[in-house]
Amino acid sequence: MKKLMLGNEAVARGLLEAGCSVVSSYPGTPSTEITEYAAKYDEIYCEWAPNEKVACEVAFGASLAGARSACCMKHVGLNVAADPLFTMSYTGVNGGLVICVADDPGMHSSQNEQDSRHYAIASKIPMLEPADSQEAKDFTKTAFELSEQFDTPVLLRMCTRIAHSQCSVEMLEPAKAVKKEYVKNPQKFIMAPANAIRRHPVVEKRTADLIAFAETSPLNRIEEGTDKSLGIITSGTCYDYVKEVFGDTVSVFKLGLVNPLPVEKIKTFAASVERVVVIEELDPVIETHCKALGIKVDGKNIFSICGEFSQKIIADAFGIKTNSFTENSAPIPVRPPVMCAGCPHRGLFYVLSKNKYTVLGDIGCYTLGSAAPLNAIDSVLCMGASVSGLHGFNKANQTENKTVCVIGDSTFMHSGMTGLANIAYNGTNSTVIIVDNSITGMTGHQQNPTTGYNIKGDPATKIDLEALCKALGINRVRVVDPYDLKETEKVIKEETAVSEPSVIISRRPCALLKSVKAKPALIIDPDKCRSCKACMRIGCPAISMKNSKAVIDSTLCVGCGVCEQLCAFSAIGGTK
């Protein structure tokens, strides 16, 4: 049976068909839906782990016990999981182990554009890269087979366009999960120096075996063209663009196994055509390999290292004519993503902005506090960096007391806790604000250890943030409602004034949660409105100026009342 499937759904289907029985992940665009779809299959145990390192180690443990297991993450998540990754390469596996990592060329929703293939090379772990949903499913299954055949974890590299494109997928019967026997094997699984020294040559031998496999595997496919003047080496989504432009005219070497790369097969291909061009998004990985083999190729001399490709970018590079098009003569105002109407983060950022605090921000919806008109954030680096960074900022800048950090509930559980322990242990008067909206918001509402529910929506242990912060050595922990601007401002001023570390939990569930019932929309009395625009300082998408008066869009307003607190003329109020 065929079904139109997102690449991510296809990976989940592949997990099912491969008999994978344990999946542990941390959400991150564009990888999130893999685990969400997998959680719909009763055959697979799925969970949201607090972070990618934990998820990767859970998958390792399940593999050690003999089950086929997987973990899924976005590219920057692999940085967090890098520690287990490198040594899992040495131990190898028992049950097959697959790590799905989704890159984001073009940075549709990421803080950098790193190329995960470097991790495959550095950790000496094989990596597969599908070019559509069908391959996403097929390669997931192949990944488990390779994992067990070569005794190694296997990386499956997705990218935004493959993860979030739907195409037709042939569904097959799920395999029954087969659990291998667990046999104690300290020489293989205890990576202390004496054992690891013996494992390293095993890894090198495995790489040599994988290269031999790469020479003949149908994963690496040569599509011979009629025109021998050009041969293109490519993989993943770039293959799609290449075929779109050239069809079957030129020869194409499509790599499905992108680490390790074949040697002889590439040499043979290069010899069969007059000119070789490597087309790959992000870094010149295949190109560097070819050049090391002494093959003359074009690559990053004609294509950018930055950003996504498209069929037009490729056509243009070869001087192939494309359609003309009409352009706007006037500039079009940008439409950036914004905090939703009723977003609980808005009130907090308004207060921070109004009082000119320096704010170290973090990764989540609340990163949008950096946008106009709030402009409330000074830095955003990576998950958890706001808390540790604040400590460093305050160590360097001990006289000032106007710097805080803002981190979400899920991000705090992911990587903020250790930074807070450092604040307590090494002592700064830091004020950490945890924006607790009872959900992992940015990635589309996933549960986390502070919400009280698991991935299936069933009740789970709810970690008490106040008790956790106290246990981490913070004596001053206070809770505020960010819809209450006065109270929020008072508490922030008090906590930044004291000479010891403190935590403020700004608590209010995400306005988009189904459990949150919107209040009636507010309205603005045009007779009372003095057009001062005070209500527009919070950047609420529901408020705009029409005929010089502020008006509220009743289809967007959820009645949070934050704008009401800003109006000096009592023009904003409940519905009549």
């Binding site: 564009p30 494309t322 359609n323 003309s324 706007n328 105002p333 439409r335 993503p337």
Partner: protein
Amino acid sequence: MKLNIMIVGVGGQGSLLASKLLGRLLINEGKDVKVSEVHGMSQRGGSVVTYVRSGEKVYSPIIDKGEADFIVSFEKLEAARYVDYLKPNGKIIVNSQEIDPMPVICGTCEYPKSILDELSAKGVDIDCIDALSPAIEAGSAKAVNIVLMGKLSNYLSIEKEKWLEAIEQSVAPKFVEMNKKAFEFGRAYK
């Protein structure tokens, strides 16, 4: 024959359902189909783009500049934003709704009211309809997406029954009748 349709709008307007409907419709026609969506950041009131492509064999999941046969836009400004993706002789179907983006709300720039007229003057084929009123009449302001699909259906050589069948397969049972009504309103819109 290849068919490229771009659906553009503002996060939360229902472009994903429209692309799901089109994907289903074209699969039912026996075509190879790719539908490319945007997730993450852009869901929060940002500009949203979805590509729907079909043909005997579709490779690329995206539509590039000068390639769209149709741009279906849920909002005026968004239609203008992506006009360069339209093929020569392509057609824009646009909902006449105006939704202010944040720079307009903040007062740093004005909503370019006459933008579509300027594009029409340049020869762009623009079919601007008020999709909101028929959607509300059908039962929900959220049915703007299906009203626009109804309008689009006039330009594709696919029987009406096939569209209605795809609607049945794409929306929850309790919303089927409302969406069929919205589709009919869009299809009959003059």
